[in-house]
Amino acid sequence: MGTSLPNARGYFGDFGGKFVPETLFDCLKELEDTFGKSVKDPSFNREFTQCLNTYAGRPTPLYFAPRLSKEIKPGVRIYLKREDLCHTGAHKINNTIGQILLALRMGKKRIIAETGAGQHGVATATVCAKFGLRCDIYMGQEDIHRQSLNVFRMELLGARVIPVTSGSQTLKDACNEAIRDWVTNVKTTHYLLGSVVGPHPYPLLVRYFQSVIGKEAKKQLRSREERLPHYLIACVGGGSNSIGLFHPFVHDKKVNMIGVEAAGYGLSTGRHAASLVCGEVGVLHGARSYVLQDADGQIKTAHSISAGLDYPGVGPEHAYYKKTRRAHYVAVTDTEALRGFRMLSELEGIIPALEPAHAIAYLPKLAKKLRKGNICIVCLSGRGDKDITIIRGISQKK
């Protein structure tokens, strides 16, 4: 399972597909063809790897976290895959480098992207500056407010940040607006989608570029421990860092994969972003997957303290992993995530972004299942600099 999916129509089992306006079909075909040719082209892969190594700072370390391990359960070994040390501060750069190389091959002159926390926006603005392409980033007004530092970074990099005031004014609406722009400017513009969501071939190609996370981690752990991990743990919003970590292990049946969603104020409050844990099958942004929706099929507004997880949908491959039980999905609340944030900062001297703080926060809950000698890899998908203002705000309120 896994490597042969998605099928030619972009499906992972029942999930995926191309539920998009007709205008985009030709362009999706062009993207699919370009991607298909590029992955078989050694010069493309060489250029991609070279950019990752000399520009993005790969490979990132696989760090053994001794004090965190001891805190969770003595005898357990917890490793952190340090995507927070990537250039621009998160794993997002892996995908933006890959996609901009595709955009250049397609001769596109302009890049658009959506962003929630601003990490994907910054990573997109960065590669656009590096390769000299015009860049417009759609960002919800609410997110612009809570991630103002990243807005300023994008502007410094020469991108235009376009505020989105429709709907919930967060990531979902930024996606809508980016798709509308793309429908209008499809001939000249590449939509640099930031996660394993959206219509085929996006979930496939974003996975390809993000799989570097899991491939490196697998190799690094083998050289350190001479074995596979027992658990992989990663946060899931759209699901790109988690797919990046999980996918290279998908055939290793003994490796447990756990995706941690945002439970926001709590699953019972209805104000959360746990599409896999609490959602239903539906169509959002071009793919059939799990979504948060009401009885009439209207998409609900998600909530999470972390802007990067604040999304009412999830990548179709995760939906497939859930359905086939290849991965297990859980959710932790805003409060728990904040505890995870502090725990990692204080025990290891690593300030995580609020997104992977959710993955860290799940560790104490996993502890009772863990046995002595168990090895866990947690994807530390981004660093916390962007969240400092939010954390300070919360600390001052108390």
């Binding site: 191309k18 007709e22 959002l284 209207q298």
Partner: protein, 268 residues
Amino acid sequence: MNRIDAVFTQLRQEKKKAFIPFFVAGIPDYRTIRELVLRLEECGVALIELGVPFSDPLADGPIIQMASTEALKMGVTSRSVFSFVEDLRKITQIPIALLTYCNPIFKYGVERFVSRAITSGVDGIIAPDLPPDESALFTACAKRHNLKTIFLATPTTTHERLKKIASASTGFLYYVSVTGITGPRDTLPGDIRAHLCHIKRITRKPVCVGFGISHEHQARMLAPYADGIIVGSALVRILCQERNKKTAQQRILHIVKKMQRAVNAPRS
């Protein structure tokens, strides 16, 4: 015979073109839409396109987005739209096509949605994010119930896809005049006529043009190359902005009458 097929057969016999107004269901309220539909039928409007609001209307510009948000706030749902049409069917047989995004159809259940559409008196469905490639179940159900499935073609559609879309479309084929989302445009792309001629060579099914059309001269220019002209945002804007519902109705009727004349103007 399905009402959409019947109306196009009749129009062709009379060598006339259809003018198709689009409204968002429940905007400004169901009563106003109901009265409008009746008045428009008196004016000879061939077909009504009614939008079911959706939270994330990807193919729509700001006017229809705002109207949809408003309609959702007022509690308009697929269910209430079906009841509205059912009620309307007691007094009019004007063909009605619903425009809805695919998620509300899936949530309702494809089979149930199609069967409820037919029992309530809906004649066709337009779903802008449900291309023929993803619609096997939907088209099969619709075929069984004789509900028309109207697919969209656009300026970026390739020849191969055009054949697929034409073959999947029943009732009529919806040609999107612009590469983009809904909303009035001052100028339309110069090659629309060429595209329409191309489509006409591929299919004998009726072809209606929409997106971006708001001026009479645009309707007059396009009508000879199509079987119908669809105008949405320009009308929805009036219904959203004009506070006085009577005035809004008058303004809509005025525009529709002008458009009706424009689409059936003798070719100069």
